[in-house]
């Protein structure tokens, strides 16, 4: 009997460790607020907008950045379902805006994508996200190292409704870093961010292995 309890205890402890490493993400979005999110999971039923946000309240709008024409493309959930564009798949490493007119919470969960992730980064402005469901320091991401000098990264504040943090990468002659404040900035799991490169910068592939916070 004692051995059975011991095994049960081990199983519970083991399951707890796995759960703590990759928890689901809860994103509360208040009425009138806009949140910049991402879906770092393989969601059951697929990662289309209509599936990921199937429980969203009416009048919730998802804005996805169309890199090819550099505009936001939106689709809204109405009382009769989603408007056009909700079949868009939310890609790995892609950020998007969620606009809500009622207080609601979004629970994101699903399978964990394999590591490493390979995310194409265009030479234009892009809305990106860390492709794993963990917090990470901005300057620990491979993306922060791959971006050329004079690139910028902008982080959205849902509470303030603004781009509260904006950082500029220094020229190589000045160390090529992001500065002390950016180096200390922890990206919460499930956040998106905007990256811009100087005109004429080449596109590249962002290869990112999973880094568990606080690495």
């Amino acid at each position: 009997m004692k051995r059975v309890w011991l095994w049960l205890g081990f199983v519970v402890l083991y399951a707890g460790v796995v759960h703590a490493q990759y928890p689901s993400i809860t994103r509360p979005v208040g009425a009138g607020e806009v949140d910049l999110m991402s879906v770092p999971y393989l969601v059951d039923g697929g990662n289309t907008i209509s599936n990921v946000f199937q429980s969203a309240a009416p009048n919730t709008t998802i804005y996805v950045w169309d890199t090819s024409i550099q505009v936001w493309q939106g689709c809204t959930k109405t009382s009769k379902g989603w408007t056009a564009g909700a079949d868009k798949e939310l890609l790995r490493g892609e950020g998007f805006f969620v606009q809500s007119w009622t207080d609601q919470q979004f629970f994101l969960s699903g399978g964990i994508p394999g590591s490493p992730a390979a995310i194409p980064v265009d030479s234009e402005s892009m809305v990106l996200a860390y492709p794993f469901p963990v917090d990470v320091l901005w300057t620990n991401t491979e993306l922060s190292k791959l971006l050329p000098a004079c690139s910028t990264v902008s982080f959205w504040s849902r509470a303030e409704g603004s781009w509260a943090r904006n950082y500029l990468k220094a020229p190589a002659a000045k160390g090529g870093g992001w500065g002390e404040e950016a180096a200390a900035y922890r990206i919460p799991a499930g956040d998106g961010f905007v990256v811009r490169q100087p005109p004429g910068s080449p596109a590249f592939l962002w290869i990112q292995t999973n880094i568990a916070w606080p690495n």
Binding site: A149, S154, W156, W163, N166, P171, K174, G179, E181
Partner: protein, 276 residues
Amino acid sequence: MSKLFSILFAVVFCVSPAIAGIAVWYCPGYGLYPYGAANVTSTVPGTGLLANNGSGRTLIQLIYAGFDHVVGDGSDNRVNPANAANGYVTGDDWVMASTVLSRGMQGVDEWGFSSTLRPPHVDLDWNLTGFAYVRVFHDDTPQDGEAYYDTPLVSLDLGFFDPTSFAFAQWIFIDPAPVSGVALNRYIGSGPAPTPQIPSILYLPGDQRLSLGVPGGYRLNRVLGATGLLGNGGWDWQPLAEGADYENQSGTVSIFTAGAGAAPQRVIRIGVLPDP
């Protein structure tokens, strides 16, 4: 007819928000250097503008070039030091935004560079097409005879009418970042200024004065003295008083080195302006 007007109003109402609004970032992407700096890529401490202007601060302005689409009134006198109330501009230009860069504050280094960006200048009601430029002053108290720099004109991008778009704000880098910085290259009151010849300096033991002639084609603007270095590495420049610390007679400047009126400063700077 009234229905036609209604439709027209509706069209205008729908269109105007989409073409209005600006969001502009303006800052150095490499660095700012003092007037005459030959090396505008140097990272050697002491070479930046904010290490050489005495205050460690400089004023930068985002300026609309007006309806004539030229800087100032089109002449070389682009800055009016007496027009502080309107940001020292001339012609039909006006200052859209201004910022004081302070060395050591918000990550600003001696070249005015910081990785931590201030929010872009946002004006949701702006609906004027045209051009803007950025002006960098020698310090944050522009005066006649001081140096400054104007960027080339940049066409303003309209269409920023929503906070979500501000991360995509228009960039106006003051310098050709990330390749190099810029040095101030103009003088208030005189436009582009050639470097005057440095005259010979004579020590007159009888009068215990240092004497030098103002270079031909120039007039004396002011004389400054410094007793030592500030905490930020810049010189502690103070204006010297004519009659007490120096004399200016017929284009010859005499600096007292002894006696009651002797200037205590160890380093002297003499500013000249081209003759009108």
